[in-house]
């Protein structure tokens, strides 16, 4: 581990306040995500968790506050420097966000062909390797429209880890998946953490999934952070909103 990993979190957000036009969405949000753990940002729909995630990859600019990735403040970074940081981050979007006009293999190859000088045969091998990790070896030459929702997410996950990023963001990974598929995707995410040491930040409102994978939780409600701590601490903290969230989520299983 580098010294930064030993002492600091990989993601650190301080007093983030943001919104668009006149509408405020995030109110003084502060959170951290430590290395090599799975941090879940939870809350009901509309609480601002996906907005927070998009701020972390600078798709939105906040009104005030600071965001640090790997110890570096990213809001004021200039573009080339930030692009270099992005190469260390993989993002799994809610619906996969694969490019629909090219095959799965070509999608996974994009980061490799654009950001490395590796020769084609090595890239092809890497693509097959990532697809095998997500159990999609046989789907390499299919178009995204020919895949099921679950397969699309796995293909997008393969693309997200193409460059072996140490940090992975997932936006509602189990959304739209049946319980069996959601569980196998969760197991994939867990294995990424345990076998490859990837730090994962997951945005979710699916309680069964969260209970399976989260080490730490950040609980949001109406744009504010209500609780941060380990999963166990969250379940024993006796905060009404948190308890209700978990209770309702489990009863829907």
């Amino acid at each position: 581990m580098t010294t930064h990993e030993q002492t600091s979190p990989v993601v650190e957000v301080r007093n983030l306040t943001s919104g668009y036009d006149d509408k405020q969405i995030l109110y003084d949000v502060s959170m951290t995500a430590p290395y090599h753990q799975i941090t879940a940002i939870l809350g009901s729909s509309g609480c601002g968790k996906t907005t927070l995630l998009k701020h972390l990859i600078r798709l939105y600019r906040p009104w005030s506050g600071s965001i640090e990735l790997f110890g570096n403040e990213i809001i004021t970074m200039d573009e080339p420097e930030f692009n270099a940081q992005l190469l260390k981050v993989g993002v799994l979007f809610q619906n996969g966000a694969l490019l629909n006009s090219i095959t799965v293999a070509e999608n996974v190859a994009i980061p490799l062909s654009q950001h490395t000088q590796l020769p084609k045969n090595i890239i092809n091998r890497l693509v097959k390797m990532k697809l095998r990790l997500v159990n999609l070896e046989n789907a390499a030459d299919l178009l995204p429209s020919e895949l099921s929702g679950g397969m699309r997410k796995r293909a997008a996950l393969a693309r997200a880890i193409a460059l072996d990023p140490p940090l992975l963001f997932c936006d509602e990974p189990s959304a739209g998946l049946d319980p069996a598929k959601a569980e196998s995707l969760d197991r994939l995410i867990l294995s990424l953490r345990s076998e490859l040491g990837i730090t994962v930040v997951v945005v979710s409102h699916a309680v069964p999934s969260i209970l399976r994978i989260a080490d730490r939780v950040v609980f949001m409600d109406d744009g504010r952070i209500l609780f941060t701590g380990t999963l166990h601490e969250a379940r024993t903290a006796e905060l009404q909103a948190v308890d209700e969230f978990f209770a309702k989520g489990i009863s829907q299983e």
Partner: protein, 369 residues
Amino acid sequence: MTALKYTDNAIFLQGEILIDSVGPLISALEGFLRTHRDSELTIDLSGVPRIDSAGVALLDETLERAQAKGISVQYIHAREVVTKTLAAFSTKGLGTSAPPASISFFERAGGAAYGAARDLLDLLYLVADTLYFAAVGLVRRTGIRKGEFINQSILIGMNAFPIVALIAFLIGFILALQSAAQLRQFGASIFVADLVSISMTREMGPIMTAIVFAGRSGSSIASEIATMVVTEETDALKSMALNPVRYIVVPKFYAITLTMPLLTVLSMLIGIFGAMVIGYTYLDIGIAPFYRQVVDALVFRDIITGLVKSIVFAWIIVITGAYYGFRVKGGAEGVGKATTAAVVASVFLVILADSILGLIFYFGRGFKF
């Protein structure tokens, strides 16, 4: 049908109060409230066997209206099923929403101006990014979608050839036909060749080709980009440190810059050929004399101005398509709106640019090149 009986301070309702019967009942109750002098009123519901949500809404509305007039209303003797329905559908306290405060003309004008300024700024950023990355991309291939230039050249350019050719032929044909009717009267049929060749090279070739491209490529560029925004594909590109303008727009920019002038030249030639057909069949002008007349009439300048126009039009089409694509709001409906807006704006801007360029070329006509 609901019947209404009343005494001085009580109304007796008889019959089911359902959605069909609410209408007449409204006016009856209203009339009653207007003339009622007392500060109390009871409405007896013992004769009502059934009520639905419309009926509940009516009763609640009546109660609140009466309260506003200072009359306190009580519903009495409601049967059990009616009481349950009243409780389930109660709209008490919900109130009807007040009409939104009207925005003054100046506020609207100011808002529109501010919005337009922001849109113009976004457009300038897009133009700057596109031209910059297109220029840089000539020397460095990073960040541009591989293989896309050839692909787009085929889609945007080659596939447009049949329709561009057909339209050009027909335009040349029609121009010749219409002008022949007039020129014949003066024995000046041969000048059809001059007329068509100068019109095709200076105006009709570039404009018609541009309009075909605006309809085909302008709409496809806008809809492709808009769909990518809606499905978060552009977000995904940004998250992979790829600039969407560089990755998606620049290949299209190259493709249209290459193919539209080529197709414009082809359309000029085909249009003149169409006129030649009329000349040969209708005006008895031989192929060789027609050809000589065309060559004499045209100067280098005519073709150059046509080509310059076609490049400017090409850039207008690709940037307008990209602009509306990136600003899409909403889902499928937004994509449709973006596509329509792109085509309409492209056609308008092309014709506007044509006028401006026409003026520039006209007033600069002393400039020899």
